[in-house]
Assembly symmetry: C2
DNA sequence: ACCTGAACACCGTTCAAGT
DNA sequence: ACCTGAACACCGTTCAAGT
């Protein structure tokens, strides 16, 4: 008695660990390991070990090490997109929203450096392509609304301004992650350097708008 | 006859390969392999194989795989710095020089993606720190000269403008390498997107200067 | 002084075999 | 259907041994 072929009641969670949610367990383990050690140091064997299964078990759920990493990245995009959506909802004014989006972008990069780096990895994955496009659409929409309120220079197009804003924020995120900003500007914290650099584009754009 | 303990004459190059310039041979092989496959796929064994020595031989010249990669990166910085110096010499006008520096920055990134990515790697290496600082100093000097000619807005500091310009160009370089610009702007080539984004900062800064 | 051979622990991946 | 055990080729690194 006590031994059942199917897990029931209180033990359901524990027993199902080995027949049903290994995929989730591997995803969690991989996310933790990648966050801790970076992608380079990540090993599929270590993820299997953390999930308590054999070294071959992950291949029943993921085609390769790369595929598991891809799944972690996809999950990262979902959370990142949700964060940006929340920022959009909280800021009705397009120019304020633009700044808030930039800060959220950098905040995510700083809080999850390894996943952020994977967002823009050499090998272009499907989810990255689509999610990246959606993110840029959010940005472009924001610029268009600022344009509509007449606060952007007429000689500059929306798409060019959006690319400049994106590149600026993207560059600041990378430079911050790599510690470059604390090297070139050791007197102040990186947050202040970031805010000042973002203000450069903001104030000069507003001034150019007349 | 013909067999000598020391290589002489025409055979000197070939024979010395195995007693003297293995270090150089490994550096060349590593640079080629990293350029071809990226750092992730780079293996010390493959470099040794390419140089025609045993798998243990590299350890007589480099402490680890990381150390060999570091040497490749150091060599990359030297060439990159030389390139930027040439650009500085060719452009006396500070604003024109600023643009040319940005283009040279991105050109290097595109022509040597793997080494460029290593320039700003997680683990802060000595040469990267120093060379990065020197590069930023070149940029800052350029901004200061533009300031002296009264073509920058008084309400923005030199160091903030330099950081904004750096981040913009750095972000464009990364987005271009990752193929993002061709996704968001498929109608035009990435070079045009880059030029337009750089122009956004340039024209709005000039407009703000009055 | 510089390199080889052999060894160690680790890795990604495959596949027959177990339940 | 899902997992294990064992195997393969590869890797980074070490060390005694060769020349």
């Amino acid at each position: 008695m006590g031994r059942t072929t199917k897990a029931t009641g209180l033990d359901a969670g524990r027993d199902r660990y080995h027949h049903g949610n290994l995929r989730e367990a591997l995803l969690d383990a991989a996310a933790d390991l990648i966050a801790r050690d970076g992608v380079t140091g990540f090993s599929l064997n270590a993820a299997a070990r953390a999930a308590g299964v054999s070294t071959a078990a992950p291949y029943r759920h993921f085609a390769s090490r790369e595929a598991l990493i891809g799944a972690v990245v996809e999950r990262g995009w979902i959370r990142f997109s949700a964060e940006l959506d929340r920022v959009v909802a909280q800021h009705p004014d397009p120019l304020a929203r633009l700044t808030a989006l930039g800060r959220a972008y950098i905040d995510f990069a700083v809080s999850q450096p390894a996943v952020f780096r994977l967002f823009f990895d050499e090998r272009g994955r499907e989810p990255t392509r689509d999610a990246g496009l959606a993110t840029f659409a959010t940005l472009l929409d924001c610029v268009a609304q600022a344009r509509a309120s007449g606060r952007l220079p007429v000689e500059l197009s929306d798409v060019d301004i959006a690319h400049a804003a994106w590149a600026l924020v993207h560059g600041l995120a990378h430079l911050c992650l790599d510690g470059a900003l604390t090297v070139t500007n050791p007197d102040v914290g990186p947050e202040e350097t970031i805010a000042a650099a973002m203000a450069v584009l903001g104030t000069s754009l507003r001034a150019a708008a007349g």
